[in-house]
Amino acid sequence: MILGSGICATSAFLRVLLSVGLLGTAAPSATSDEPKPKPENTISVQLGEAVTPQKFAPAPKFWIADVTDRSGNPQPMLVMRERGGLFLDRQPTAIVKDALEQSLKAANLLAADAATADLVLRVYLFHFGLGSGSAVDFFGKVEFSTMVKNPKTGESQEVKAAGTSIGKPAFRKKTMQKNVQEDIEEALHDATRNFLRGTQLKEAVAALWKGIEVSPAVASGTATPPAR
């Protein structure tokens, strides 16, 4: 009986010792597995060719006040955790702002500053990067919502935009990085186009821009920023 309890106590002690040892070995490996940004696993995502927006009559001047990250992602620059990780070289908010500014500027729709703008845009970014795909290919997804505001009247309207892209799969790490980069760029281009050529923006501009002279009825629609 005593012998039995002695054995039990020894085995319990050994079990505790083993688990402590396992924890001790597991903890450093977990931290070492966490991918870190290096030049060789960092990609630069850019819009590339500017998107031609739809025609507005009369054409307002836009100003992008700010882009806020609403994705809830603690590591927005980490695109992919597997295979040593894959990082963006800039914050997604900066990339989206650049993309919109580049396209608006190319179409001469970007105001010089906030004071001279007819409509001010506040962008809320919900998703930027890869979505959960089939694991056979890469699913690029960019999704944001924009509050279009007339600074003179205070009226605002929400415009949603989303872009998707399916990228080719790859086995080699270099090819994988290239494919992911192309995939996200394509999704960014798609989202920018969806925003600038969307009927929602057309309606918002028509409502807010006419609102100055004609309809104060729309003025009641001062919307709150979107939240997820």
Partner: protein, 175 residues
Amino acid sequence: MRTPTILAVVVILALGASTAKAKDESPHYKTAEAKHFTTAEGVELTPTFVDYFYAELRSELTKAKLVNEVIGEGEAVDDADAPKSLVITGTITEYKKGSVVKSALIGFGAGFKSLKMDADVVRRSDKQNLCTLHVHVKVDPRWNEKVMAKGAAKEMVKEMKKALSEGAKTQDGKS
């Protein structure tokens, strides 16, 4: 003397065939807008499935070269292009999860995941229904549902291409 002549004939024939094929493959429509499919009551699929299927459908439409440009949901189209533009809407009507046990024990397609969806292809300008599609996809239950989305998108575009080309042929025949 004979060999170069035969070779020349073969090359001419091949060139002729390739140009004829290229002529046939030129897209008949300018734009296509695929909308997110809705799910019927009782269909238990993750919300990301519909999003992924939408992306796959657009990707397959681009690959199929059915139209010049595949536009995003809610994008404006020039009035001049509207008669040559398509809008694709659809509903996922049925989804069965399948059974790994049945699939392993019985085989021959038993216990496979099953997905049924209906789609309507309408002309943008007058909302005329150009074709109605019914797609039924079955995949191994061990596979991810996104793989099923990929298969369904491929099948959908294949059916669409077939239906639209048949429709175009009958229109040509009437005129």
